[in-house]
Amino acid sequence: MGQDGEIPEGIVNPYLAVSALVGVVGTMTLLPLIPALIELRRKSDAAPLNVIQQHAGEIRYFAQSFRSYMQELEPVLRQCAASGTNASGVLPHGDEYVALGRGDGELLQALAERDATHPVVIVAGVDLLAPAATTFSREVFSSGRFLGGEKSNYRAILAEREVHLGASSCVMRWVHAVGPLTAERGCKLYGRASSDAAIRLHADCSFLRLNAPRIEIGEAANPSVLPATSPADLSPQTTHRFFHDGDFEIQPDEVIRGNLVVRGRLRIGSGARVSGSVKSTKDMTLENGVAIAGSLISAQGMRIGRDCAVHGPVIAEHAIFIAAETCCGNAQNPTTVSAPEIEIEEGAQVFGTLWARESGRVVLRT
């Protein structure tokens, strides 16, 4: 550089400088296009988004897949069951299995003891009687009944007849019973629990997703007893819609013929009946003995009192409390009860699906 600050001639060629500038700017402009051009040419991620539903969301999906997976073991199972012997081997996907012809606790105890270091899939051609305080970290299949002891932990269970989980047991992924499924006091059912017959949960059980023709909560739930008020008594549903801005209260024993949308809190008085569906954008409270022929939807929380009957889906975006003797759905028309958090009292019944996204809990009747 010269002392006067000017660039001396001959040091920088102006044509070269312009070319360099154009080159640098061009390179910087094209640089982000290089991966784009490569992807455009290679088409490495050009398939349509995979949205073909494999029904993975269907509650029995895992159980059905597992049953299909187990099908080729049927001859082995039959042989073991007939001879009362056991066999072991490796399934096509590399999973090690033990096929049992006897389902006694002693044998299962031995398998459970080695589970921590050498877990195996357990398949039984007979009833299985699992000992207490054991852990099975692979799937368990019984072509008969599965009777689990107390304080045991399971990854997944499939039984072709009934499943009975001892008190304080835990299922980590899924359990499906073709017959009735019973969880004794304090069980934790993470993931999916389903039955083709009925599910009964006792006090202090926690759950996420349940499905059965009938879900009974606690000993007190008596399937033959339906709430005194029944939505079936109401006249056929109408499409007429009542709309209310702000908090609203339906008076006790009042009958609403139509759908109701409340932009606020809603309280439905004892013995009231609605022939349509009900929505509130804030908390909803149903006092005892309310009958709803349609659905119940709350954008916040919902509290359903005793002896209520709801025909349609029950959905809350925050939490639902369902008191004893209340019935959601019926045997002919099962329904869905869903919320992030659900508390359900002993004595309540749900026909269909009971789905707590974050936590579901059986509470003692008050």
């Binding site: 296009l33 398939a47 349509p48 073909i52 029904h55 969301g57 349609g294 025909h311 869903s338 269909g352």
Partner: protein, 413 residues
């Protein structure tokens, strides 16, 4: 001039913030899917309208798909709305009617006003169910989608429902790949964020549903509307009905494979949207109706989406004029900082949204195509501006709108 430019800059900033807000909500906010858990219910009877105008290449695919969905057969009626087709559409539909007796009731329309809304309006004579679903003929619904689209109607506040559209012919060429990215951003981020934030998810007129009593309450299909879906969204909103968006109710569609077809498509959308803006904009923002404050604001911004293209172009021209006129819009340092900040963040808003959508979809490598979106945006901005200009010209001259059917590219099955 300078104040007009200020106003345009303000508008662009509002839309930029909106893009960021939606994207951040999808990435970090609470996700609302209130009806997705309804898998067991006493399912209501449903009529499925399949809009078909010269759809011989695709109509068999959708009818086959609908015959295999997991919805009680006795509660589902498929009504192909054959709108004045001159190809084999009628013949193909009638073959399906014979093959599936009692499950398909065709509506063959041989005359009348053009356009999907007019055809749907006429087909309503066959509809008796409270829940109506609508598909365009080039869509391929999955097995579980009917239950998913019907489920929101258990909520009496819901008047309309919209599922997610997913391009099927993604790999055809650069255009289809760009449209795939745009659709991801539009549905996976925009629509779901509006659902999360209780704003105004838009009814798309296909992979969609409407409640019959709500439709009657708002006066039925508006066959004067160029985009019956946008029109429906706003009329439902003004009457206190929500449109529920079901992001997990995905359905394949065929996207345009040529720029000519794409330009025609986007011009029609722009004209329809602008028509709805003129019809409902002011009333939505300031009128007396049942929309909430946040719905009023978001609904107005949504109505203005297509108007932003010509506004942006005007902004660019004004900025050049301001520069050459020597007008200093702001103090130099502030101007430089503002331009730098906008260049760093503002321009990235739409790209950020699409990149986030692709990430949420779990498709990582297609995000490399993001820089090419500039091309798509360039074409859109000029097409939409052209649509606005011709719309104004037609309004002045009284010229009638010619409804262009989107060309299909699938080979007939």
């Amino acid at each position: 001039m300078i104040y007009v430019l200020y106003f345009i800059v303000l508008l662009i900033c509002v839309y930029t913030i909106r893009h960021y807000g939606f994207t951040l909500n999808r990435l970090f906010g609470f996700q609302r899917h209130p009806y997705i858990d309804i898998d067991t219910a006493d399912w209501p009877a449903v009529t499925i309208l399949v809009a078909a105008h010269n759809e011989e290449k695709v109509v068999a695919n959708i009818l086959s798909a609908l015959m295999t969905v997991s919805y009680p057969e006795e509660k589902m009626l498929v009504v192909p709305v054959n709108d004045r087709s001159t190809d084999r559409t009628r013949e193909i539909i009638d073959e399906f009617v014979e093959r599936y007796p009692g499950r398909i009731r065709p509506f063959h329309r041989t005359q009348g006003k053009g356009g999907k809304a007019a055809a749907l309006k006429d087909a309503m004579e066959l509809v008796t169910t409270e829940v109506i679903l609508i598909f365009d003929a080039d869509y391929i619904p999955g097995a579980g989608i009917i239950k998913q689209l019907v489920a929101p109607f258990f909520d009496p506040e819901v008047g309309g429902v919209m599922g997610r559209v997913v391009p099927l012919n993604v790999g055809a060429n650069l255009l289809t790949r760009l449209l795939d990215l745009e659709r991801s951003g539009g549905y996976q981020v925009d629509q779901q964020a509006r659902m999360n934030l209780r704003l105004v998810p838009q009814h798309g007129g296909t992979v969609a549903g409407v409640r019959l009593s709500a439709l009657r309450e708002i006066g039925g299909w508006n066959d004067n509307s160029l985009t019956e879906d946008t029109d429906l969204t706003y009329r439902l909103l003004l009457h206190g009905y929500k449109t529920a968006y079901q992001n997990r109710s995905e359905c394949y569609e065929e996207v345009p494979e040529t720029w000519t077809v794409r330009i025609k498509q986007i011009m029609r959308w722009a004209k329809g949207h602008n028509q709805a803006m003129v019809t409902y904009g002011l009333h939505l923002l300031a009128g007396k109706h049942r929309a909430t404050l946040r719905e009023r604001i978001d609904g107005t911004l949504l109505l203005g989406v297509y108007a932003m293209a010509p506004i942006t172009l005007i902004g660019w021209i004004l900025a050049l004029l301001v520069f050459y006129e020597g007008i200093a819009p702001l103090h130099g340092v502030i101007a430089i900082l503002s331009i730098t900040a906008y260049a760093a963040l503002g321009n990235l808003a739409a790209f950020f949204e699409i990149a986030a959508a692709v990430r949420l979809d779990g498709m990582r490598r297609r995000v490399c195509l993001l820089p090419f979106l500039v091309l798509g945006f360039g074409v859109s901005i000029f097409s939409v501006t052209r649509a606005a200009v011709t719309q104004i010209r037609d309004a002045i001259t009284g010229a009638e709108f010619h409804w262009d059917k989107t060309e299909r590219f699938r080979k007939a099955s």
